[in-house]
Symmetry: C2
Subunit: 337 residues, 2 copies
């Protein structure tokens, strides 16, 4: 059966398409009685607006885009993204906006996708994650004029609207936690070195360690389980290994825990471990992991909100999330004497 259109409603109500459109959109131009009759008919025959027709008419796609381009093997185990998506959707559902989601091979493919989506008017704007130091996506998005919100540090996005977490505060919290427990030599296994997150965290960690008078080193990894395990193994084989390690995500932390256990290093007796980003992963391993907890769902919601605001003409400005809080579990303790 054909899906009903406003022409069907118009015919039944004995008015024109225009009158129906007015009634359905709460526009003036129809009497209360006619409006009620039209709404009644629309309800009865189960009319819903054809998104293509509406998009064509008002020039809006009614959809946002989100692309992720980390390697597929990694993505799967990262709760962060899905949490973020849940948050994004919670805002978009109310705004009757859909989300186009894609996993891209690399940054170049991601840029191509933006060009296509924008060129074909498939999206009204995009959300950008994993902002790099010299990110090729930013100038392209600006050149195209795509409304975009970057999920990352305010200074990162060269003029795009941002929503950011307080990476500095997180780093300081962990350093202080380790220092208070008595650790004097700590390490930090990071994500990709050219991510803004990484730079922010590394800088703050170094400064805070200096301030409280302990040794700290950041070693680069890549957010993957393999990377986390390798970095851990190398750190623990040093002549003077660290007594505590902070990992830039939960996956590397869990993987680092496994690597330490394989080397016969007891956690937390011989090594304390903390994860940046809390998730079910941190809770289910043994020992459970101390982690920086932060409401990623709300983060996603705020990003989506900012993009909606941007499109409605207001300037949302750069938003800051509350600082992450440390959830202490079994994996951190005083270092062995």
């Amino acid at each position: 059966m054909r899906r009903p259109t406003i022409a069907d409603i118009a015919q039944r109500a004995g008015v024109t398409k225009a009158a129906v459109s007015f009634a359905l959109n709460d526009q003036p131009g129809v009497s209360p009685a006619t409006r009620a009759r039209i709404l009644q008919i629309a309800q009865e025959i189960g009319w819903q607006p054809n998104s293509a027709a509406r998009a064509l008419s008002d020039g809006r796609a009614g959809a946002f885009g989100l692309v992720i381009d980390r390697p597929a093997g990694f993505l799967g185990a990262e709760p962060w993204f899905i949490q973020l998506m849940v948050g994004i959707q919670s805002e978009l559902a109310a705004a009757h906006t859909a989300l186009l989601f894609t996993v891209a091979e690399d940054k170049q493919a991601e840029i191509e996708l933006y060009r296509r989506w924008w060129g074909q008017r498939r999206v009204d704007g995009v959300l950008v994650v994993d902002v790099r130091l010299d990110d090729a996506r930013i100038p392209v998005l600006k050149e195209l004029g795509v409304p975009a919100v970057a999920i990352g540090p305010a200074q990162s996005a060269g003029g795009l609207v941002t929503v950011s977490t307080d990476d500095g505060a997180g780093a300081r919290t962990v350093v202080q936690h380790f220092a208070r427990l008595g650790h004097e030599r700590i390490a930090h296994v990071t994500g990709m070195a050219d991510l803004w997150h990484t730079r922010e965290r590394t800088g703050a960690l170094r400064d805070e360690a200096r301030a409280v008078g302990i040794e700290a080193v950041s070693v680069p990894a890549d957010y993957t389980a393999e990377g986390g395990a390798q970095a851990t193994t190398r750190l623990l084989r040093r002549r003077t290994p660290p007594t505590a390690i902070l990992y830039d995500n939960d996956l590397m932390a869990v993987s680092g825990l496994g690597a330490a256990q394989r080397l016969g290093v007891d956690v937390p007796d011989q090594l304390s471990i903390a994860a940046w980003e809390d998730s079910v992963l941190c809770r289910l391993v043994h020992p459970s992991l101390t982690a920086l907890t932060h409401d990623v769902v709300a983060y996603g919601a705020h990003a989506a909100r900012s993009l909606l605001d941007l499109l409605s003409g207001s300037s949302p400005g750069d938003q800051a999330e509350p600082a992450p809080v440390l959830t202490v579990r079994e994996s951190t303790a005083a270092p062995a004497a």
Copy 2:
């Protein structure tokens, strides 16, 4: 700057919109010279078809829908879905079809979403995951006439096209592996009891255990870390606990491992553990987990392919994936004497 339309091309080429449309769509009706000129101009000004206009004209949305309605906390840690999406996207990208992805609160919300997407012509078809025994989505999709492919057992979907894995073979493989190691009392921690997967696996496991003459019990859980840990704890506290456990997903297996370790039960010396669905999670914990490996990316690609075929008018029929193979790692061994 306004995005170019075929009218712009037509003007520059000194022909009508129709001629341009013919040229761009490889339709007869224009001379080779004119066609070349039009393509050249389109290329130059960076024309791309407006998806809304095309959708309105030919009645296709150019997008598929995928909804997931498991609890958000769980979703994040499940690599399976993202792997599936990567596979889906790989097929869709080539077909210039977008994917609308949403996380729904519950089955009812999911059904509402289908009604909206379909009513508004936002999607041309949907992919259905997590098929239940008496699944309320199926009759709705059939009533609406939405082209749909169910990712699950062939008999599950009441007439929808399906793409399925061989759950029976997987169950038999694991039972045989445990039996060969010498286990005589095994357990199976399942996902939601009303999922078709669960029924298939439970039945095959019971039959195969009987065939090889060992004891087997399936206990229901819910795919979550908490559920897996609780089921494990209860099993290990029995008077005669199992010496091997199969978990219906990787997350519960990892969580079960943690629970066993917490009870002081050594894996694999006192307890063997296997996971259904392999992923990075299985590799990164210590001991690493024996798991049923299966190409989820290909699975997703096949499902997307089936839906594309369905829409192009052919009847893809029910597709079966290759049986999963067992990847043996550190977590399974002969039981303690």
